[in-house]
């Protein structure tokens, strides 16, 4: 029974969101509430807020007119494309982030030199940054080295993903107590052995939450980069494309939203699974 509670509360949570949505739709003002030209409460009519069941029913209908594949399949295909790109971005971010953390842990001077730039890097707006990457990618591609659009999108995703990894892993590598470091010294263990047997295992409790953030960042980065680079096939372009038909087909733009939610679940679920595999490394040492 105790194991069932998280699942029960999870279902209650989803149910609550649906309930609030439908309640607002039933009792909220159809044209919303505006104060001095600003929309304070959303419009509740069917064009802005379709019924939940309408949105779900729309998923089963053809994507755009007779003869096209059902909407859920189109969304699923977009989801797979974006998921693949986000995963690649996460992988690149993981490698870059871990390498940066190792460098910064190795020497204080490098930490002072690199860490401020790592922090500053995240203040560059993604929509400004993505076209730059896209342009560079096209130049490389013209130079003879194939650099497809999806690779540019993955690079932008990795740009968001490496940050929590670099900061979290650095913190983790620095986590071992003095007593453990001295113990390794008495064993005449060098840098490599200390890294493998002590610093890396000690970093895992810091690495997992960092990875969770990085995975979420990679998904957001991939979707936003798809939009700003203009790459077709993924969820990002689907949002823009479907939003233009919103007035005629109000339930349509919500479909990729469901796709993004599923994408988030897959990303968070994978990290949770990894956390379960590594559970021995997450034990706290009991205080005597």
């Amino acid at each position: 029974m105790r194991r069932a509670w998280p699942w029960i509360w999870g279902v209650v949570g989803v149910g609550a969101v649906i309930g609030i949505w439908e309640l607002y739709k039933a009792f909220g003002p159809a044209d919303g509430v505006t104060v001095g030209g600003m929309l304070i409460l959303p419009r509740a009519h069917d064009r802005s807020m379709p019924h939940v069941w309408d949105m779900l029913a729309r998923l089963a209908a053809p994507t755009l007119g007779e003869g096209t594949p059902p909407l859920w399949l189109t969304v699923l295909q977009g989801l797979v494309v974006t998921l693949g790109i986000a995963a690649l971005g996460l992988a690149i971010g993981l490698v870059v982030g871990v390498l940066l953390a190792l460098l910064m842990e190795r020497a204080r001077v490098l930490e002072w030199g690199i860490l401020p730039w790592v922090v500053v890097s995240q203040t560059v707006p993604l929509i400004a940054f993505a076209p730059v990457i896209s342009t560079i990618g096209k130049q490389i591609d013209r130079g003879g080295f194939p650099f497809p659009e999806w690779l540019s999108v993955a690079v932008v995703a990795s740009y968001l993903a490496f940050f929590p990894i670099a900061v979290g892993v650095l913190r983790g590598l620095q986590a071992p107590d003095r007593i453990h470091l001295e113990l390794m010294r008495t064993y005449a263990a060098g840098y490599g052995a200390t890294l493998r047997k002590l610093r890396v295992p000690a970093a895992i409790p810091y690495f997992l939450p960092a990875l969770k953030l990085a995975a979420a960042n990679a998904v957001i980065g991939a979707i936003v980069a798809e939009v700003s680079i203009g790459m077709p096939g993924g969820l990002g372009r689907m949002f823009i494309q479907f939003a233009s038909s919103a007035s005629a087909d109000p339930a349509l733009p919500w479909a990729p939203m469901f796709g993004a939610v599923v994408l988030g679940f897959v990303a968070a679920g994978s990290v949770a699974l990894l956390g379960f595999v590594l559970k021995n490394y997450r034990r706290g040492e009991a205080v005597a």
Partner: protein, 275 residues
């Protein structure tokens, strides 16, 4: 009987476990200079159990850390089995235990004990066998697969001691290993350590705050005083290898405790205080 002679064959006995001559240790620079140790000479024979006792700040931990090559002496020489302290560390001539157990939380009892063996390339089955044997020696044979967070403080400390013994060291360095334990656990651990030291024949340098602990365990008690840290007196404790629990209640034991206490305070202690 002389413990030292019973434990060690003559050829090994000729090289002392530790030889320290004219040792000074200064921390900090110029204005903030602190003399942690001044003019320390000490020799620990192979197989001998020596306690370092004294008030906080007398440099007893620093002295042990210098032997372990975790600190460098400012002047003077330190030899461990006739080598430099650094060489002895690289050769794994000593095992060490600190006040905190310092176990790696992600490793089981056996994996923690086997850590030094693993780092030095001992094959899996061999180190597994050795670690299980040591877990038995410290009375944790039924807990080999437990993790540190499932053990009490006393059990964790026993794992740390087993780990220190993993590579058959001829010298054990212990910095208040029982300091964080309750009195009952502490006495039981002392009894076990006395037995283990006698069985393995290792020399021990044991840092402690506790006078009865030092007397119960040691062949010699080295009394130190602070500012600057120096050795003020060295007392023999001629109880031999066999140290039963009952020893703690014998008149000879109390006599030695009083002697150490007087050495610590620098003057005779009024008897009435003890009642």
């Amino acid at each position: 009987m002389n413990r030292f002679a019973t434990r060690n064959p003559p050829e090994r006995a000729s090289v002392p476990a530790v030889r320290i001559a004219g040792l000074d240790k200064v921390f900090g620079k110029r204005r903030q200079e602190v003399r942690a140790l001044a003019g320390v000479d000490l020799e620990v024979a192979a197989g001998e159990f020596v306690s370092l006792i004294g008030p906080s700040g007398c440099g007893k931990s620093t002295l042990m850390r210098i032997i372990a090559d975790l600190e460098q002496p400012s002047t003077g020489t330190v030899e461990v089995f006739g080598k430099t302290a650094r060489q002895a560390r690289l050769d794994q001539d000593y095992g060490i235990a600190f006040q905190q157990a310092g176990l790696l939380p992600w490793r089981s009892v056996v994996q923690n004990i086997a850590l030094p063996l693993e780092l030095h390339g001992v094959a899996y089955h061999e180190r597994q066998r050795r670690a299980e044997e040591l877990a038995g020696l410290v009375g944790l044979g039924d807990f080999t697969d437990h993790h540190p967070d499932q053990l009490s403080g006393g059990m964790q400390q026993r794992v740390a001691i087993a780990r220190a013994l993993a590579e058959h060291p001829r010298l054990l360095l212990m910095d208040e290993p029982f300091g964080a334990l309750d009195e009952m656990t502490r006495e039981r651990m002392q009894t076990e350590l006395a037995r283990i030291a006698a069985e393995t024949g290792a020399a021990v340098v044991f840092v402690t705050h506790s006078i009865p602990e030092a007397v119960y365990l040691s062949d010699r008690v080295v009394v130190m005083s602070p500012r600057p840290g120096r050795i003020t007196e060295v007392l023999d404790v001629p109880f031999g290898d066999d140290r039963p629990d009952l020893l703690r209640e014998s008149p000879e034991f109390f006599e030695r405790v009083t002697a150490v206490r007087e050495a610590l305070h620098g003057n005779p202690v009024v008897r009435a205080e003890e009642v």
